[in-house]
């Protein structure tokens, strides 16, 4: 895809590819690591939010006078306490952090208080009088696109539709991707199948609720401490919402207790800072789990139609998908990513995917690990499984026959560069799991999946300390052990021990803008910037050695952490180690550093293939996963243990989504399962070990060939589990979650067969 070729090393690694202990390990196993809620400040107040009890209501008035009069209450804020005008890109966030005239979902923030303690803050909330005018609401995607649906936003006309619709609707935007002649493709098919699929929303489920500590200062030293996937985004959003310049707010990212996309959205920070501004004191806010469920995340629910035609020998002739994604109360981009990724695993002559973002009275939608992709993947890979069954072809052979290859035009536009779809499928086919016989009473399923991976804005600073050790400052929170990989890449390039590199997450006042930790970008984009920064430092250090030796700079090479004379005119000098160069730096030009700023492209797509063996209890409809294997291309696995961890974690989130997780809404439009007891995520006893097979097909966009690895692993599990259930029971599930009651309702035939 990318013309770019940065690949400089694909073998002979010394540090990259090893499994050293993570640099923050001891802090994390001893309880010392400071997460969002672990920070305290002198004179700190507790902030709490009053949330709408209605899924859709006009706010006629808010009377906070009784709350303000309560002893111990120091500030109350409402929409009036934020900037009136913000850039269009921040409009939804402004209206989401504090309802402006209308509450759009149950849990929408309406007002907030700061008080001396939690009990006082809670009491104050109960004293705020809000006069609501409840409005008709809509929760489910199919209801929202019905002709007579109540409108979430009056007068909203769909963007991206040609011709532009005249009538307002809940379809916020539309998109279309593809190429070729669909009619001809379907006409050439021997078999055409068309099915509808539905998925329920799932929450990212991070164990750490959103938390922050704000300290406003009129002289321009406002501070925010928060758990976020992107503190630069927090700063650049929060400052305009409060009407202050970006430079006057410094945001420090705490350790972050999981995010999975859910902490790319800003909820508390502007509210806490507004409360701090009004009260003149630091304000800490921590969400309850109930608030996390009612007011943050989740990803889309969906209604999809997919049609695919094949020849008898297993070649796909045409593929078409229409995706309606429930996009929360503001719409977004998740259906677009779903439509783009729908058929990306395959090289197709005729393909089309159309996405529709549908607004409802649910929380503002947030990204969730490979946002949009697992949803449509469930539909496409389930239908492909049915088609393979129609022609009695092995599902992996069927996919191999249609796999995207280098030079193929992807279904979303670009032409593929060096990609790993074929090798990923072959590795899965040859894996001991796939060649083992399916145990009695179980069924096996496979599915493939794709994710784009991203790069983006990156700024890195690398400093050589006086003893020759190195400190790397990065601008993206470490959400799953990435600091280890950062240290490894710096050590590799500099030729020094891993232990001699320290990586810190710098605050927003210390580095240039960095895009958020999402899009599987951190190890790719930080990594290439670290390597470039290290190269700049090496060049500088070679110059210092040349100066000391009195030889030309280009007669000095860098090897194994030392400057060495190189070439015919270099002269005979002993190699000078980094520690000596660093020690002498005061006399050779001062401190030694490297830095690099880039909008990193060339992230390199990745593919995964999953294999599952499951059994289904005919009495209860409960599915048990007995064996599960993930095969995925990492480009180059910098720290293989954490790459495996990404594969395993994504797979298990997908298994949870497939089998259990989902939102239940009452007829009153309120969420009925806002806790971990009723929103049941997988626990250890639900699962087997997750086998992780790493493939390495170097990404030319990175000096060491690294691809993102964080997201692809959640794409295939929904269909993998569905296909395994189909094998075990003969039942094709077209709705997620495939929970015991849902499965039981389809199992009558299976049950009789079992008897």
């Amino acid at each position: 895809m990318a013309e770019i070729n940065r690949l400089t090393k694909d073998s002979g690694f010394k540090v990259v590819g090893t499994r050293p202990p993570r640099p923050d390990g001891i802090d994390k196993v001893t309880g010392k690591a400071k997460f969002g809620a672990d920070m305290f400040a002198p004179g700190m107040l507790v902030g709490k939010i009053l949330r709408s009890p209605h899924p859709h209501a006009k706010i006629r008035s808010i009377d906070a006078s009784r709350a303000e009069a309560l002893h111990g209450v120091k500030a109350v804020v409402t929409a009036a306490d934020f900037a009136e005008k913000v850039p269009r890109s921040h409009q939804a966030t402004l209206h989401n952090i504090m309802a402006h005239g209308k509450a759009l979902y149950e849990g929408h923030a309406v007002a907030a208080v700061a008080a001396i303690d939690n009990a006082t803050a809670k009491k104050a909330l109960s004293l705020i009088e809000v006069d609501y005018e409840p409005l008709p609401f809509v929760i489910d995607v199919e209801d929202a696109i019905a002709e007579d649906a109540p409108l979430v936003h009056e007068g909203m006309i769909t963007r991206g539709m040609d011709p532009k619709p005249e009538k307002p609707s809940n379809i916020e935007s539309a998109c279309e991707f593809g190429h070729g002649d669909l009619d001809a493709g379907f006409a050439a098919a021997d078999i055409v199948l068309e099915r509808e699929f539905r998925t329920e929303a799932s929450h990212q489920g991070y164990i750490e609720p959103h938390a922050c500590l704000a300290n406003y200062s009129d002289d321009g030293n406002s501070e925010l401490w928060c758990c976020t996937q992107g503190h630069f985004l927090v700063r650049d959003t929060t400052a305009p919402l409060l009407g202050i310049p970006v430079s006057k707010l410094r945001v420090t990212a705490s350790e972050i207790g999981g995010g999975f996309g859910g902490k790319t959205v800003i909820y508390l920070e502007p509210v806490a800072l507004a409360l701090s501004r009004k009260s003149g004191r630091p304000v800490k806010m921590v969400m309850t789990r109930d608030e996390v469920f009612r007011a943050t995340g989740p990803t889309s629910s969906s209604y999809m139609n997919v049609k695919i035609g094949i020849t008898k020998d297993g070649r796909i002739t045409a593929a078409d998908a229409l995706l309606f994604y429930q996009s929360g109360c503001y719409g977004g981009f998740i259906a677009q990513l779903g439509a783009m990724s729908a058929f990306a695993c395959y090289g197709l002559d005729a393909v089309r995917s159309r996405g529709r973002e549908v607004v409802t009275n649910r929380p503002m939608q947030a990204s969730y690990r490979a946002p949009g992709a697992p949803i449509i993947n469930f539909a496409v890979e389930s239908l492909l499984d049915e088609l393979a069954r129609e022609i009695n072809m092995d599902p992996i052979e069927f996919r191999l026959k249609n796999a995207a290859r280098e030079g193929d035009r992807s279904s979303y536009g670009p032409v593929y560069d060096q990609i790993g779809m074929v090798r990923t499928l072959e590795t899965a086919r040859d894996h001991p799991h796939y060649s083992s016989p399916v145990p009695a009473g179980q069924g096996r399923g496979v599915a493939a999946g794709f994710w784009f991976n991203f790069g983006g804005l990156t700024a890195i600073s690398l400093n050589v300390n006086s003893d020759g050790t190195v400190t790397v400052s990065v601008g993206r929170p470490d959400i799953g052990g990435s600091r280890a990989a950062m240290c490894q890449m710096a050590a590799e390039e500099l030729g020094i021990p891993y232990e001699n590199v320290r990586c810190i997450i710098a605050d927003t006042s210390s580095l240039g803008f960095n895009d958020t930790t999402d899009g599987s970008r951190t190890t790719f984009a930080n990594g290439l910037a670290i390597i470039e920064a290290a190269r700049a430092a090496i060049k500088n250090m070679c110059g210092r050695a040349a100066k000391m030796w009195g030889i030309p700079e280009d007669a000095v090479a860098w090897e194994d952490g030392c400057a060495k004379p190189s070439g015919p005119n270099a002269g005979d000098f002993d190699p000078m180690p980094i520690s000596e160069i660093a020690r002498k730096a005061p006399n050779t030009g001062g401190p030694i550093a490297g830095h690099y700023e880039v909008n990193a492209d060339g992230a390199g797509v990745s593919f995964g293939v999953h294999i599952a063996d499951v059994s289904v209890d005919a009495e209860t409809g409960r599915t048990t996963v007995h064996r599960y294997t993930v095969v995925q291309d990492a480009g180059k696995a910098v720290h293989p243990s954490y790459v495996e961890g990404q594969y395993q974690g994504g797979a298990v989130q997908g298994i949870g989504w497939a089998l259990n997780e989902g939102y239940f809404y009452g007829k009153d439009g309120k969420m009925e399962n806002p806790g971990f007891l009723d929103y049941r995520m997988p626990v250890a006893s639900d699962l087997p070990m997750i086998e992780a097979a790493i493939i390495e097909i170097p990404n030319k966009g990175h000096p060491y060939g690294v691809r993102g690895v964080g997201e692809t692993s959640i794409v295939p599990p929904l269909a993998t589990i569905g296909n395994a259930i189909r094998s075990a029971t003969g039942v094709r599930m077209t709705e997620v979650p495939m929970s015991p009651p849902a499965l039981l309702a389809q199992l009558d035939g299976f049950k009789q067969a079992a008897e």
Partner: protein, 158 residues
């Protein structure tokens, strides 16, 4: 509302504190005593991130009233290492990459230690069921289970 005085032993130290009758043990550990290793993930006893050992029993400290801890011996994650020497479980969690974000880790460690005190040679299934009260959203549990089994093996050998 008058505050209650509570006398406890926490990580071997005698600690007295004052608390409101409605405050949980987790509130006191985190907000009054500066022991923020125990985390509040749900406040309803479903996630296990606040797990501490109370008189030899693992409990969700978000479900224990602080006043109930009178006279108790409490062990938190801050007391698990012996000075600078990590407990084998702590070492094995790092070695096996059994944590990603690390928010659930203190709870898993406290729960795992209690398991190995009762059952030094657990099967994989026993480890999985013992830890079923602790949620981890990052790892898929694979590496956690391996770390616990490996720590158990090392502790049996020593």
């Amino acid at each position: 509302m008058s505050r209650l005085q509570v006398n406890t032993t926490i990580n071997g130290d005698e600690i007295d504190f004052l608390c409101d009758p409605g405050e949980t043990l987790l509130d006191v550990l985190r907000n009054h005593l500066g022991l923020t290793g125990a985390k509040e993930g749900c406040g309803s006893g479903d996630c296990g991130a606040c797990t501490v050992n109370l008189d030899g029993r693992i409990v969700c400290s978000c479900l224990v009233l602080a006043a109930e801890a009178e006279g108790s011996k409490i062990e938190t994650i801050e007391g698990m290492a012996d000075g600078a020497e990590l407990h084998p479980l702590q070492r094995k969690f790092i070695e096996h990459a059994a944590l990603q974000c690390g928010i659930c880790t203190p709870g898993f460690l406290i729960a795992s230690k209690a398991l190995l005190e009762r059952n030094p040679d657990p099967t994989e299934t026993e480890v999985r069921y013992w830890l079923a009260g602790n949620l981890c959203r990052c790892t898929g549990y694979d590496k956690i289970v391996r770390a616990v089994m490996d720590a158990a093996a090392e502790m049996r050998a020593s």
